[in-house]
């Protein structure tokens, strides 16, 4: 009896988690219907927001967001505080997130954005760069006699850092100069801050007095004449400076003006004591103390006296002043929490907005329990919620008193990516056929729990470019269609079996798939060696030789990341699903970790890749953190770029009409001369290098053509784009986030309701 009671108790206790899990499932089931509703309302966020009209100094712009005023009298009140929860750990790299590289932690960038201000250009909520009228009194853009692009900036007088010292032109130039010099390499910075400016190489190779007169490469060619002055940067007065963007490498370039986006920093933070920024008429420079050597320095191994300053400056949180809306009041590296207090000297952002909230706390939340954290009042905002169950829970909470939500489309998407230089994936018709096999609407809906959308090209629906040309964009959605998949394959020559005879449906073994006769260069080494991998069913498909001809089987070797829902869903469709069988195709699946996947994508032996290439299909995701859209050099046919390119796509149009031989043409001229056949390389290069900054009309023409060509070639298949939800305590007013404008940016426009 005793044993039975014990056993019963045990079973009951073991059942508790199961019951809890079952409760969770119940909620998940409910999400389907409410999810659909929410999805329909995705585009309503802007309509729902209250419109406001604000005058700027130059023109009247209708804004679809509020700009509450700062009330200085309540900045220090305890209640005027917002706690932002982030699932990403802060790392402490707030001054220079990523330190010149692309690996910056998103939460560190948030803190940087809140503490650095007065940049000459700032990114608005739509991802576009805007000249900062608060900081910049005037600016001019012109070409010099050498064709370089000169941006001259005059900043407003009276701007102040958080310690009350004035912001001057030298504060803007110090960072670009210092972080273009070899001294910063002492702290592993790449010293590339000013690489787009005239004279960079000479300045970058100057290591102080005694620098060699010239620097040569391995072939003996002179690559630089080390020079103290940075010719492309001029200090023109206390409040005026200019930068010169080098032609032809960096100009003409549609986004050339964004090179003018420079932030001011306290001089002592950047160059320390004893160093000045000067200009004697030949370019700005840092005085000799910057280049002082440390003990033990030799000509072969330079050691810099400023190395300690650089280390200290990178992680400084309190010693040096800030220029942004907030200053760091407390950084607790142990709990990964930061407290920011309003910078009372801050004059406003690009449109003059000053922060009405006195204190911002940025703290870590756990993804799985963040909903409870906001419910319990531990945090006031959580962001980037996605997935059916989570979003449903967020919406349910937002329906209750005390909580609200805002949502937006993600600037990015999940995708299938192809290597287009070998295997069946090198043929457009095969990539199109795969696209036809996937019901993308259903895929996106299932994966995102109903809170997602599909895009049909390399864009996000929030992009201004897309919005501009949306009506005229002619793209093929590749809706699910077995018949269309078969047709494109047959048109593409996939009409054989392994014996070189006509393909017949219902074949078995190696003849269950279609074959294509390889013509000319198609019979490459990699294609001749091509064979299926992960042959769990015991059948190995490989390129066969029949007579003098090679026939390649319609097999895709796919490498996916493990423990990934997308991999599982794609596997159900493409590996075990019926679609591929119906069109005479086989997809072989291999999974591994992300490093192994990138090793295959970039064919890097250090990551386990071995020749010849085996995989030509991957599942990944991509995204944009601003509206800058620049895919130049991604589609170059030159091996130096091609071998490292993502898709390794060889567009025949680029062979017939190469960009390098037809540069400088307008869109209409290029279309006419190429007979309307512009390739991916041409379009991506011309989109940014044949258009003047600000010429959006012409840029959009190229962009549209690029998207349409891409959509035809399908080097990737976009699968889903999430709708992200941000949930917040209703005490916060006016919060409006977007894909490019997270809570840490949006709080600048928010107020906190004073408690009753």
């Amino acid at each position: 009896m005793k044993t039975k009671v014990l056993a019963l108790l045990l079973v009951l206790l073991m059942l508790v988690p199961c019951v809890l899990a079952a409760c969770g499932d119940k909620e998940g089931t409910n999400s389907t219907s409410s999810g659909a509703t929410a999805n329909e309302s995705t585009g309503d966020s802007s309509d729902a927001s209250s419109g406001a009209t604000t005058d700027t100094s130059t023109e009247t712009v209708t804004k679809d967001y509020d700009m509450p005023e700062q009330d200085e009298s309540v900045l220090d009140e305890d209640w005027n505080k917002v706690i932002i929860g982030s699932t990403t750990d802060l790392s402490g790299d707030f001054r220079f997130p990523g330190y010149g590289g692309s690996s910056a932690v998103a939460s560190d960038i948030d803190i940087n954005n809140l503490t650095v201000g007065y940049s000459t250009m700032e990114v608005d909520r739509y991802g576009a760069y805007q000249w900062n009228e608060t900081a910049v009194a005037s600016h001019t853009e012109e070409e010099d006699s050498d064709g370089n692009f000169v941006i001259t900036v005059k900043i407003n007088e009276g701007l102040k850092f958080s310690d009350g010292t004035e912001v001057k032109a030298v504060n803007y130039l110090a960072y670009v100069l210092a972080y273009s010099s070899p001294v910063v390499k002492a702290n592993k910075h790449p010293a590339m801050a000013g690489n787009a400016f005239v004279g960079f190489n000479d300045f970058n190779n100057y290591s102080g007095e005694g620098s060699p007169a010239e620097v040569k490469d391995e072939d003996g060619n002179v690559v630089a004449h080390p020079c103290k002055e940075f010719k492309g940067i001029r200090l023109l007065g206390d409040y005026e400076f200019s930068i010169t963007i080098a032609a032809p490498t960096y100009y003409p370039y549609y986004y050339a003006d964004t090179y003018g986006a420079i932030s001011p920093y306290p001089l002592d933070l950047i160059v320390g004591e004893g160093v000045e920024v000067k200009d004697d008429g030949n370019g700005a420079y840092l005085t000799d103390a910057w280049y002082a050597k440390a003990d033990g320095s030799t000509d072969d191994a330079l050691l810099w006296a400023k190395a300690d300053l650089l280390k200290e400056a990178r992680y400084d949180v309190s010693k040096y002043a800030f220029s942004g809306p907030y200053v760091i009041s407390n950084w607790d590296s142990s709990t990964k929490e930061i407290t920011l207090k309003v910078n009372k000297y801050y004059a406003g952002n690009w449109e003059g907005q000053k922060p009405p909230i006195g204190t911002i706390v940025y703290t870590k939340v756990v993804q799985e329990t963040q909903m409870d954290a906001i419910k319990n009042g531990q945090v006031d905002i959580i962001s980037g919620l996605t997935g059916g169950d989570v979003v449903n829970a967020a919406i349910d909470l937002a329906k209750t008193d005390g909580f609200s939500e805002c949502h937006y489309d993600r600037a990015g998407y999940g995708k299938i990516q192809f290597d287009c230089d070998f295997s069946p994936a090198m043929f457009t018709e095969v990539r199109q056929a795969v696209s036809y096999l996937i019901n993308k609407e259903e895929f996106a809906s299932t994966f995102t729990g109903g809170y997602g959308a599909v895009v049909y090209g390399p864009y996000a629906v929030v992009m201004p470019q897309y919005k501009d040309v949306e009506q005229d964009l002619q793209i093929e959605p590749y809706d699910y269609s077995i018949a269309n998949a078969k047709k494109v394959l047959e048109d593409g020559g996939w009409v054989y079996n392994s014996k070189g005879e006509a393909y017949a449906e219902g074949g078995t073994g190696v003849d269950s798939v279609r074959y294509k006769k390889l013509e000319g260069d198609e019979a490459s080494e990699a294609n001749i060696a091509f064979a299926s991998v992960s042959n769990d069913d015991g059948i190995t498909y490989k390129t066969v030789k029949v007579g003098d001809d090679y026939y390649m089987p319609l097999v895709l070797n796919w490498f996916g990341t493990d423990n990934n829902n997308v991999t599982d869903m794609l596997s159900a469709i493409l590996v075990s699903g019926d679609g591929p069988k119906q069109i005479g195709m086989v997809v072989r699946s291999t999974t591994g970790d992300f490093d192994a996947l990138t090793g295959q994508v970039y064919r890097d032996p250090d990551y386990g890749y071995a020749d010849p290439p085996k995989y030509s299909m991957y599942n990944l995701a991509t995204g944009w953190n601003s509206a800058i859209y620049d895919y130049a050099f991604n589609w170059r046919l030159d091996p130096a770029w091609f071998d490292n390119s993502v898709n390794k796509l060889y567009d025949e149009y680029d062979v017939a009409f190469p960009y390098d031989e037809h540069t400088g043409l307008t869109y209409e001229e290029a279309m006419e001369q190429s007979d309307g056949k512009l390739g991916m390389d041409y379009l991506s290069m011309a989109m940014v290098y044949s258009v003047e900054p600000g010429d959006t009309e012409n840029y959009n023409k190229w962009w549209k053509a690029y998207i349409e060509r891409w959509n035809y070639l399908e080097p990737d298949i976009p699968l889903y784009g999430n709708v992200y939800y941000d949930l917040y305590n209703s005490k916060i007013e006016h919060l409006q986030t977007s894909a490019y404008f997270g809570p840490a940016s949006a709080v600048l426009y928010c107020t906190v309701k004073k408690p009753a």
């Binding site: 005793k2 590289g101 706390v361 756990v366 192994a596 090793g599």
Partner: protein, 339 residues
């Protein structure tokens, strides 16, 4: 012990270097955008980083050559020069954590180690304070209703994994009852000092602490009970009882001393574990501890960090064995090493 350490270090270094990963590539890739129109420059940067990291070196003809794994191992230990300098573990350089902003590994570990120790010390003391008396009580009252009830309780605690207990407790005590915060290590935005700070920290640590203690109760209680039960059947205990020695003295002086040997192994193991973080627990409660660092470093191929942690745990393990051996001798004079 030293030999075991050296062999372990070599094995660890070799195993982790088998992972297909190139740090130089990973660093260079971060600057890809800056070199988008200069792929040769990116290759040059990659090579520079490989030289800097000691993965390659120039031969007498000025050609870059790969450095063999054994030489890299010696360089890591500090027994061979890397770029002309002996700068390895023996010189106090445990490497750079690339995941944590290229900061020295030891610097990165300082705070998580403190957090982990703070949590574990309380947990171990609490667990021992409960389990040892409970185990003894159960052994002494073996077969009683109270013993049976505790057996049910402990077997449940022993059977359910830590993370399930954590999830259940969060649901119950944090989400439903709201007694404790769901995650974190302090009240967000608080700037407490002194005792107030300590109490706030304890409040935030309470739930993880309860979970850890609850999860440990089953095993230790049952272990002590079993050990004590066996000791209570020994001849010396029977003799002591026959001589009319007080029951308290019999239990705590005669039986408990004999039951200590197996318990010591576990108890010392527990104290050693105060340095080790719990991967599951720290992630569930959002704690910045050693377990979280280890799992994040493994995921990010932060090899210097992983190697440092593994070596640290290996050293602690070796040291633990030594302490256990010494403790055996103290607890039982029969085990002392003869001179």
């Amino acid at each position: 012990m030293l030999l075991v350490f050296v062999i372990l270090s070599m094995l660890l270094y070799l195993i982790y270097n088998l992972i297909p990963f190139n740090r130089a590539n990973a660093i260079a890739e971060q600057y890809k955008a800056a070199y988008k129109n200069n792929p040769e420059g990116l290759e040059k940067l990659k090579l520079e980083k490989e030289i800097e990291l000691g993965l390659k070196k120039y031969d007498e003809n000025g050609e870059p050559q790969k450095v063999g794994i054994f030489m890299r191992y010696l360089g890591w230990l500090g027994l061979a020069p890397v770029n002309g300098q002996y700068n390895g573990i023996l010189q106090g350089n445990f490497g750079i954590s690339y995941q944590y902003n290229e900061r020295p590994v030891l610097e990165v570990l300082a705070e998580p180690m403190q957090n982990t120790m703070f949590l574990n010390i309380f947990s171990v003391i609490l667990a021992l304070a409960v389990t040892i008396p409970l185990g003894i009580f159960c052994a002494v009252h073996r077969g009683s209703k109270r013993d049976s009830a505790i057996q049910v309780f402990t077997i449940v605690g022993y059977s359910i994994p830590f993370f399930i207990i954590a999830i259940l407790f969060i649901w119950l005590f944090a989400s439903t009852l709201g007694w404790f915060p769901v995650s974190g290590m302090k009240t967000p935005g608080s700037d407490y000092t002194g005792m107030q700070k300590f109490l706030d920290q304890l409040y935030y640590m309470a739930l993880p602490l309860i979970v850890m203690t609850f999860g440990s109760l089953g095993g230790m209680t049952r272990y002590v009970r079993a050990s004590m039960t066996e000791a209570l059947t020994m001849d010396c205990v029977r003799t002591a009882r026959a001589k009319g020695v007080k029951e308290k003295v019999v239990v705590y002086s005669h039986a408990w001393r004999n039951a200590l040997i197996p318990v010591i192994t576990l108890v010392i193991g527990w104290f050693i574990s105060i340095f080790a973080g719990s991967i599951m627990l720290e992630n569930i409660f959002g704690l910045n501890g050693m377990g979280k660092i280890l799992i994040q470093s493994l995921t990010a191929n932060d090899l210097d960090m992983v190697l440092c942690l593994e070596l640290f745990y290996a050293s602690i393990g070796l040291l633990g064995n030594l302490i256990v051996d010494i403790a055996y001798g103290i607890a039982d004079p029969r085990i002392r090493v003869n001179k």
